[in-house]
């Protein structure tokens, strides 16, 4: 599973800390001009990088091997069958793999957009309004952050079964929309990035609450919301348990569940390792692309944190 580590320190703490410290650029300069990084730390980091990258290299190399070579040839010796493997994978049950890709994009894309919207609204609401039970709601949310989504999959299945919604796109989309962590992030970010004065100014000018939110608050929240979006997108993209339990029709499967099915064919069938490895490689490409595209928003975010005082 891919985990996000970089974006978190970028948004909120930076915004707070920077108020008391020199601006980001100056700090970076200070660090660069100081003593050279210690060789031990560099070695440890290099080892860490190797540890993270080696499995990726393995996937890339293994996806170029034919089924026979996979277990027979040297682990890191690449071969020439990548195109064959992709063709085999595309031919599997009339291109079902690509349908899984589209499904995953749908679950992750739509789910993350809706989840970001809900998180932004809820986070903004919790940060900028006073209402009875606000702290209770926020505490429940905090508790929700601590509960792993896996634990909720079965209760969610039973609830959706009551509504006859299992084995539909909705059964995976609906539970993905609420993300306690997303709401938590959005609240913290809204509290830090949207000054009360701006909201009040908008009201004084006669903007409705809805308009204040969408036209005044949301633009200020964008860097934080990109983070929430990415978090949710990756979480849904990698989610296995929820769609695994919810879905019976393999035309609705996301990549994760579909590929696991190719491995778990029962004792009397060979596992389709080559197809699964090639499929795994293809399935991370969109994530890699997304990270490259959205990287610049984090840079924007850093700058925003630096200027604010």
């Amino acid at each position: 599973m891919t985990t996000l580590t970089s974006p978190l320190p970028a948004d909120v703490p930076a915004a707070r800390v920077d108020a008391r410290r020199p601006a980001g650029r100056a700090r970076r300069h200070w660090r660069g001009a100081g003593e050279r990084p210690s060789p031990v730390a560099t070695a440890v980091l290099l080892l860490g990088a190797l540890y993270c990258l080696l499995p990726v290299v393995w996937v890339v190399v293994a996806s170029t091997k034919s089924g026979a070579e996979l277990f027979a040839s040297f682990t890191f010796a690449p071969s020439t069958h990548l195109a064959d493997n992709v063709a085999d994978l595309s031919a599997y049950r009339d291109g079902l793999f690509w349908r899984w890709m589209v499904n995953t994009a749908l679950y992750a894309g739509v789910g993350a957009i809706l989840s970001t919207l809900v998180s932004a609204m809820a986070g903004y609401g919790l940060a900028k309004y006073t209402f009875a039970g606000k702290n209770a709601v926020f505490n429940v949310l905090l508790a929700g952050v601590l509960v792993p989504a896996v634990v909720l999959a079965i209760p969610q299945y039973l609830l959706l079964a009551e509504l006859d919604l299992t084995n539909t796109y909705w059964s995976v989309l609906l539970p993905s929309i609420i993300s306690p962590y997303g709401i938590y992030l959005a609240r913290i970010y809204a509290a830090a990035a949207v000054p009360d004065e701006v909201v009040e100014a908008a009201r004084t000018d006669g903007a409705s609450e809805t308009r204040t939110f969408f036209q005044v608050a949301v633009p200020m929240l964008v860097p934080g919301l990109v983070t929430v979006f990415l978090f949710q997108f990756v979480a849904i993209w990698n989610n296995f348990m929820l769609p695994y339990i919810m879905l019976g029709d393999d035309k609705l499967f996301p990549i994760t569940v579909g590929l696991s099915g190719l491995l778990n064919q029962g004792a009397s069938q060979p596992a389709m390792y080559t197809l699964v490895i090639t499929g795994a490689l293809l399935s991370i490409l969109p994530l890699v692309a997304l990270f490259f595209v959205l990287q610049r928003f984090w840079q924007v975010d850093l700058a925003a944190g630096a200027v604010k005082s």
Partner: protein, 441 residues
């Protein structure tokens, strides 16, 4: 800042609208469960993990426009059953038709997951199958819970080229098997005649079945657990001894490491079942023509016996609204000569239907084209499958096997193997009682 009443109402309305649209939208997308009973064809869903099953089902659909079957391919075996049981408990979401391995049928029946087909099947269906297989779908009662699809009689698969090179004769008894294992390992310390897999409880129950074990018993309306029988203990002691000696590997099957062993010739033999050619072809395609199949080594050479590993039946679930039509389909699928031929050609299974399979299985599997009498030998072994009773918590017995034998194969002593069998017995028996079954001891 306080919320105005207007804002609250707006928020509430928005939330309601979202939920309402979600529900109605779901209705449009669902579409699979509500096979219209009044007009139009009956629509049935079929959960199976057999590859290419949809091609066989297409045959049915083209000939039966009034009953349309849709295949939903599932993960093999256990996960599909777990999912089915969850859907049964939830009250919706189960398919009409379900592939079920024989060992899972008691568990499914005790969870009320399967419909009784006794009234829906033709009288001639039972006669198509061997008694042992038919007992597995009736559990010895008057009810019929499924129609058998394929069976998995066990045989011994070995690398004929390596046997020849080392001058080893094909073992016919377990003593000879042990000697052969020693020779193989002496000739090449990295090579093993086989491995004792702590991951494959179905494999272990198969080899104990050959020795005469039956892990459960039915006494009237009570279940009994008989895992620690003399036969099972004998088998565990034998394999524990070989692992202790170091001449049999202790690594699980179906791992990349095991696949590598099949490819490079360090796994020289495999005690497997009739579907082994498909697995070998998939995992070690380059070794085609080097393997041969023989009956299992025997405990008593005068009374040839074997066990079964795998094999499944097709059942109708208790949530199906069209059990009659579903029964019609599964009868066709598993007994119609055209369908059985398609099962053999497309899915590569070994059909349970005796007359139809004799008809359909003539040429050896492609991977075993060097052994023209492949299916003759197979048919002989199929007749020697020993009776075996599975119980309603076989899943617990199997997971106890995985846990206990994982420890035993690590410990590598014959004593640890015997202890593992005792622990399995205790865990399974306790669970059966805790679940509230009537248990006799």
């Amino acid at each position: 800042m306080r919320l105005t009443t207007g804002t609250r109402i707006a928020a509430l309305a928005a939330a309601t609208a979202l939920l309402a649209s979600a529900c109605s939208g779901g209705g449009d997308d669902a579409g699979s469960d509500d096979g219209g009973s009044a007009a139009g064809p009956v629509e049935l869903t079929f959960w199976t993990w057999t590859p290419n099953m949809e091609k066989v089902v297409d045959l049915w659909n083209s000939e039966h426009p009034d009953i349309t079957v849709t295949v939903n391919k599932q993960d093999g075996g256990d996960p599909a059953i777990t999912k089915l049981l969850t859907a049964i408990k939830a009250g919706s979401g189960a398919p009409d038709i379900m592939q079920a391995e024989y060992q899972k049928i008691p568990q499914l029946v005790s969870s009320d997951a399967l419909a009784d087909l006794a009234g829906s099947l033709g009288d001639d269906v039972a006669g198509q199958f061997t008694d042992g297989v038919w007992d597995a779908v009736t559990l010895g009662s008057d009810a019929v819970y499924a129609v058998p699809q394929d069976s998995g009689p066990m045989q011994f698969y070995y690398r004929a080229d390596i046997f020849e090179k080392l001058g080893i004769d094909v073992p016919t008894t377990w003593d000879e098997y042990a000697d052969a294992a020693r020779k193989v390992h002496e000739a090449d310390p990295k090579a093993y005649l086989g491995t004792f897999s702590a991951n494959d409880a179905g494999w272990f129950s198969g080899i104990t079945q050959q020795a005469g074990a039956s892990w459960y018993g039915i006494d009237g309306d009570a279940w009994s657990v008989d895992i620690d029988s003399e036969a099972t203990t004998k088998v565990a002691e034998y394999w524990g001894g070989l692992v202790e000696e170091g001449v049999i590997d202790n690594k699980p099957m179906y791992t990349p490491e095991w696949n590598a062993g099949l490819n490079d010739g360090t796994q020289v033999g495999w005690l497997s079942a009739i579907w082994a050619p498909g697995v070998l072809a998939g995992n070690a395609a380059d070794t085609a023509g080097k393997w041969e199949m023989a009956p299992m080594p025997q405990w008593d050479a005068d009374a040839p016996a074997t066990g079964a590993w795998g094999g499944s039946a097709t059942a109708v679930t208790s949530q199906s609204e069209h059990p009659e039509q579903a029964a019609e389909f599964i009868t066709w699928l598993n007994t119609d000569p055209e369908a059985v031929q398609a099962l053999v050609d497309e899915t590569g299974i070994y059909p349970a239907d005796v007359p139809a399979s004799t008809e359909a299985l003539t040429d050896p599997p492609e991977f075993f084209s060097n052994q023209p009498d492949f299916y003759e030998v197979a048919a002989q072994t199929a007749q020697t499958v020993q009776p075996f009773t599975y119980g309603p918590n076989i899943n617990v017995a199997y997971s106890a096997y995985n846990d206990e034998f994982a420890k035993a194969t690590k410990a590598k002593t014959a004593d640890a193997f015997v202890d593992a069998v005792d622990a399995m017995q205790q865990i399974t028996l306790d669970d059966l009682k805790n679940q509230g079954f009537n248990v006799s001891e």
